[in-house]
């Protein structure tokens, strides 16, 4: 039944289901609601906003330890919508990294995100490795091994003190 309705609508509308349906004056609100529930909802979230929230979750707990439950809580989306939009947690992480590749490394947080990618996924995932390399190449002075190492220490609150600590031993 649902499939039949979907096929009918797709045929009549030529693709843009929702707009077509809303403009139909002959449908009552109730039947419109029923048909839309069969068709499935259209995507209605701000992707940049969602990616920023997910980046926050990944920064807090890393990639592996961030569960889909955490991401659902962070974004307020349904689990199904996350899978529908990004395919998997890896797909979502790739989307977050692609966003970062567009904006470039601008803050300490975005540098931490690259560090998370390098530590957790890059050793076993070619796509993440490639993206991370691209981000680092575009970042110039923030992408050097020295600046990454410095950021790693600063994140662990070991900025200037690290040398003193080592010297003490």
């Amino acid at each position: 039944m649902q499939r039949a309705v979907r096929v009918l609508i797709a045929r009549a509308a030529g693709g843009d289901d929702y707009q077509y349906l809303v403009e139909r004056p002959f449908l009552t609100d109730r039947s419109l609601k029923f048909i839309l529930s069969c068709v499935g909802r259209t995507r209605s979230f701000n992707e940049v906003d969602v990616l920023a929230k997910c980046a926050g979750a990944f920064l807090q707990t890393g990639y592996e330890a961030t569960s889909i439950d955490d991401l659902v809580a962070a974004t307020g989306l349904h689990r199904g919508s996350i899978y529908q939009a990004f395919g998997s947690k890896r797909g979502l992480f790739l989307a977050v990294l692609s966003q970062l590749a567009l904006t470039g490394i601008r803050s300490a947080e975005s540098m931490d995100l690259v560090l998370v990618a390098l530590l957790e996924l890059a050793p076993r995932d070619a796509a993440v490795r490639e993206l991370a390399a691209r981000i680092l190449a575009a970042a110039a002075d923030r992408g050097t091994p020295e600046s990454l190492g410095a950021r790693l220490l600063a994140r662990a609150h070991l900025g200037a003190e690290s040398e003193q600590l080592i010297n003490k031993k």
Partner: protein
């Protein structure tokens, strides 16, 4: 419990033992081109599953086809267990929820076998 095998072209899911009967499914063959990704997601067990049919739904065990919001998903999950979620495209099922042994290894295998990252 399911056996998941990955070949050069296909992802094969085979419910084990009596799960074949409960889920009305001998095996699922899915071309890797139609797989969008896999995730280790134990929390998915508590997700609303939708209308069952054909299949089995008991507290702690769900096997078969479930329909929710116009999308069909295949479940073969028993709790406590380790669930992976595989998102598909252009297939009969939109999503597979599977209990497997060694979920992290299988998720990595699937994701690294995908043609389209």
């Amino acid at each position: 419990m399911n056996t998941v095998t990955i070949t050069a072209e296909n992802l094969t899911v085979e419910p084990r033992g009596l799960d074949k009967v409960w889920s009305f499914t001998n095996r699922l063959e899915i071309p890797l081109a139609n797989v969008r990704g896999a995730t280790f997601d134990p929390g998915a067990n508590h997700e609303p599953k939708g209308f069952r049919g054909p299949g089995l739904g008991m507290p702690g065990k769900w096997s078969g086809t479930f329909t929710r919001n116009g999308g069909k998903s295949f479940w073969n999950v028993s709790t406590p267990g380790e669930t992976i979620v595989v998102q598909l495209v252009n297939e009969h099922f939109d999503r597979l929820f599977l209990t497997v042994r060694e979920p992290r290894t299988i998720v990595d295998q699937i994701n690294s076998a995908l043609h389209n990252p």
